[in-house]
Amino acid sequence: MSIDLFANLSVGLSAAFSLDNLFYCFAGVLLGTLIGVLPGIGTVATIAMLLPVTFGLPPVGALIMLSGIYYGAQYGGSTTAILINLPGESSSVVTAVDGYQMARNGRAGVALATAAIGSFFAGTVATILLALFAPPLAAVALTFGPAEYTSLMVLGLFASIALASGSLLKAFAMMLMGLLLGLGGQDIYTGAQRFTLNMIELIDGYEFIAIVMGMFGIAEVIRNLEDESSRSVLSTKIKNLFPSRADLREMAAPVLRGTALGSILGILPGGGAMLSSFASYALEKKLSRKPETFGKGALAGVAGPESANNAGAQTSFIPMLTLGIPSNPVMALMIGALIIQGITPGPNVVTEQPVLFWGLIVSMWLGNLMLVVLNLPLVGIWVKLLSVPYHFLFPAIVVFCSVGVFSVNNASFDVTLMAVFAVIGYVLVKLDCEPAPLLLGFVVGPMLEENIRRAMLVSRGDPMIFIERPISAALLIIAAIAIAAVTLPAIRKGREQAFKEE
């Protein structure tokens, strides 16, 4: 086992340290931070916008660059949160609370350094976890039949609904809309056209990237145009970047706890970065000897959540790479990218694409290292970027999204589709419907249908197959518990509280 691990890691090392891949990793981290630091652009939108850049690359390079973009964007988002109290995405909402207060107290440099150090440590630990646990999990998944897969996907979808904020009913409805949209296009078995409105452009189904960019990128732009009141950028020069010995001692425990919490929550479907950071903030506040400092610039309030969200971001790759099931919208995008590269996500990736799998793992650690090296010295540039006014920024976002969506299939139609989904996404968000379950449903839809059909063929039309097989039954029971749990009044209150903690 351990010898295997080292052999595998050396495959990964030689892949990640090739000159090309080092460059892609660096470019990904740099571009991700660059776009992520711009206020009003979240992680999903950043990745979706930069996705077309990776189309021309070989699969390994493309995935390395995309994951670089992912943690780059996340770190960029934290920078924005700390310096202008405008979290670009949900996972840095809690960072904004104490980080911004630290910045106002003249400790912006320390807050940024704490975020970087915490993220790096968490990233390192989570990468090791990924290397240790992903291959055995994939081996288990290889024994799964269609019934087990179906139940696994049901569990994934239900868990992501249970962990979403807001109304359960609406989350269910959004998931169903996603599943249905995902089934659009030609049926793989019979060739029948579904939901294509007799349009040739829709025969291959609705373009995923167009939907993501419409609902996350463009809808976000429209939302930002609602209120253009100016933001206050902290104009103070950032000095004393390096935390003192006392600061280091103060952040050690929160970083450790955040890493542990994030690593566990990241594996859960629907978990990932956002839930991890919220949970960590709540935990630190509870454990702190001076909880009254929280909200007024507590170092632990930055160190814990920042470590947790990075750990969660890394470990959410585990279900994506081993089961082919996305646990959050970012992973849904990664699966989209794999499919575009001609790779079917699933348990076979570990054995059939060892260079891709292990190269990605090693490059994750490298990417985290690059983040620290890149961000601390370049922080001055990021601060400058923050002062670009939004009315110069959003036309550029609209242009990049259009060109990006167009370039997926060289189809103008996809840009129209993006416009349609931008309106839909915007209206739904105004009605308190979260778009994430729709995206997950969209990606899972075709896989779910295929496995249900196969399971029914195997069992000759007997739906008891899902309950008679022990693994499948267990997965369904967990799914039922997840939904039942959040509808219980006591837990529901806690859930509402956890999401309100701002």
Binding site: Y189, R194, F394, P395, V398, S412, V415, C433, G461
Partner: protein, 155 residues
């Protein structure tokens, strides 16, 4: 609460949208063959899922009517129209007019959506982004698009 304010309720509106989409998907699925449970046709799951969606839609709608979730905030039509208009310009003109003029026009239209954008900076931004798009997408990434399209005498 008056009947009119119910129409703006978030749950009522979203429930209505879900139900409508559910009905649309059901209608679209009905002409597909259902098959049997043992051998599912292309219509089996779509019909099941869209009826389920209709059910959830009605549930959300009823909850809105009975309990109310608060009215929806107004939609800023100016920003929405400008951004969507710009996207449609791209979709319908990029082949014919080419990337340069299309980007220039769409940036100007997008800027109309902001109350803060001023004419001269917007024109400079539009020109700058048109040039940048050429450099990044045609020259850099090699997208199969022309800078000046056939409508304007390009290739």
């Amino acid at each position: 609460m008056s009947a009119l304010s119910k129409l703006r309720d978030k749950d009522v509106l979203s429930g209505a949208i879900f139900s409508g989409v559910g009905i649309w998907f059901t209608a679209q699925s009905l002409n597909l063959s259902m098959g049997s449970l043992r051998s599912m046709g292309p219509g089996y799951l779509p019909v099941a899922l869209s009826l389920l969606l209709l059910g959830f839609g009605v549930a959300v709608l009823l909850r809105g009517v009975l309990r109310g979730a608060g009215g929806m905030a107004g939609i800023p039509l100016r920003g929405l129209a400008a951004v969507i208009g710009a996207l449609l310009i791209f979709a319908f003109c990029v082949r014919g007019a080419g990337l340069g003029p299309t980007v220039f026009a769409m940036v100007l239209v997008t800027c109309l959506g902001s109350v803060k954008a001023r004419p001269i900076p917007s024109v400079i931004l539009a020109a700058g982004l048109a040039v940048f798009s050429w450099a990044a997408f045609i020259w850099g990434l090699g997208l199969p698009l022309s800078m000046i399209g056939p409508w304007l005498g390009g290739y």
